[in-house]
Symmetry: C2
DNA sequence: AGCTTATCTGGTCATGCGTCCAAGTCAAGT
DNA sequence: ACTTGACTTGGACGCATGACCAGATAAGCT
């Protein structure tokens, strides 16, 4: 990460490093552990630098959240298009579970934190808008089929997919040993096929 | 002369009051806001009392979690038995949404907090065991039907119900204006009926 | 009565927090 | 060569935090 860019204002690199460091800590240790000191330490810069580049800690947090959502979008579009919905569901699930557990937790923490804290208002909504958009895009190939056969159409299905993935992920985080999340997901795929979606 | 007002020792009542106060704060302002001082203040006792009754803040937190789970169990069993699964689903959803938003958030915070913090290890697992048990109990009347028709049986259905409710609830918290959560739930009920569960 | 034990209380401790600032550094522009 | 302005730095500020303690008080027992 130290590679050149000598022509550009060096400062921006520091700013980016701080965001990256904050992201690392949020994923590894949680939002609560992301203090200004820890972040500065992780980035290898003195404490004072943090407040030169960010007016407040919440400002930094907002940038971290934006980066997190960008990664979610990237992960969502990266998955290829399998033949059937249940295969698609399986790959999406794999993408989720392959994702670092810390990042999964961070996304949940981000939601609750945003709902509680006025300083981060609206962030949770953007987060779930992003989720639903990604899901809608993922089922795009079956859109016509779904719209014809399912109440609420592909929009409702996208929302349901997000809900199921969220619930399954959270349950898997809470109890990694339990087979319940995987079973639930398999059942859900069966229900979809039952409804004529494949 | 120190201010008189010699109060009589209340014993265990003080302990219970502290747990109740902590619960109030956790639901109203979040786990992060539940500091020992805030709790003592809410309970109307001096700060020192907190550490007389609880060895550490985590100890108090554990009691709060236990109380929270007890309430969840009570809410789950309180609901009456409707005629069909989709009606049952609707009443469960109402129970969830009727629940204070603060409490819903608190339960999610509890999960993430427990997974992150070694001091509260195992709590999240107990939480989701409780959820699944409640769900299994809720669909008990249809157990035979479900076991015969659905892959994974009523155990898998219970897990899926929990996942859907969790996901839908979280989405509703993140964006109270959006109709997506309700749509998703309606679609899910339709999928169940499609599978022959009523 | 005195003695013992449980409960309560105000104050103190070290630590960590977000924020701020005055002085320092250094490359680019004149 | 000198000024400018972006960038960096170490230290400081006031406040909140979890934990702890020695002394005060009340209740129960002999």
């Amino acid at each position: 990460m130290t590679s050149g860019a000598a022509r550009r204002p060096r400062g921006e690199a520091t700013r980016a490093a701080l965001i990256a460091a904050a992201l690392t800590i949020v994923e590894r240790d949680g939002i609560a552990a992301a203090t200004t000191r820890q972040i500065a330490d992780e980035a290898g810069v003195p404490l004072g630098t943090v407040h030169y580049w960010f007016a407040s800690k919440d400002d930094l947090l907002r940038e971290v959240a934006a980066q997190l959502l960008t990664q979610v979008r990237a992960d969502a579009t990266r998955a290829e298009s399998p033949a059937t919905v249940s295969e698609r569901l399986a790959t999406v699930f794999e993408t989720y579970t392959a994702m670092d557990a810390g990042r999964q937790l961070a996304l949940f923490e981000l939601t609750t934190h945003s709902v509680r804290d006025d300083g981060l208002a609206g962030l949770a909504r953007e987060q779930y808008d992003t989720y639903r958009a990604a899901a809608r895009e993922a089922i795009e190939p079956w859109a016509n089929e779904v719209d014809a056969q399912l109440a609420g159409g592909s929009s409702a299905l996208a929302a349901l997919l997000v809900a199921v993935m969220d619930g399954v992920t959270l349950a898997a985080l809470a109890d990694p040993e339990s087979p319940a999340p995987a079973e639930a997901l398999r059942l859900f795929a069966g229900l979809l096929e039952n409804a004529g979606i494949r």
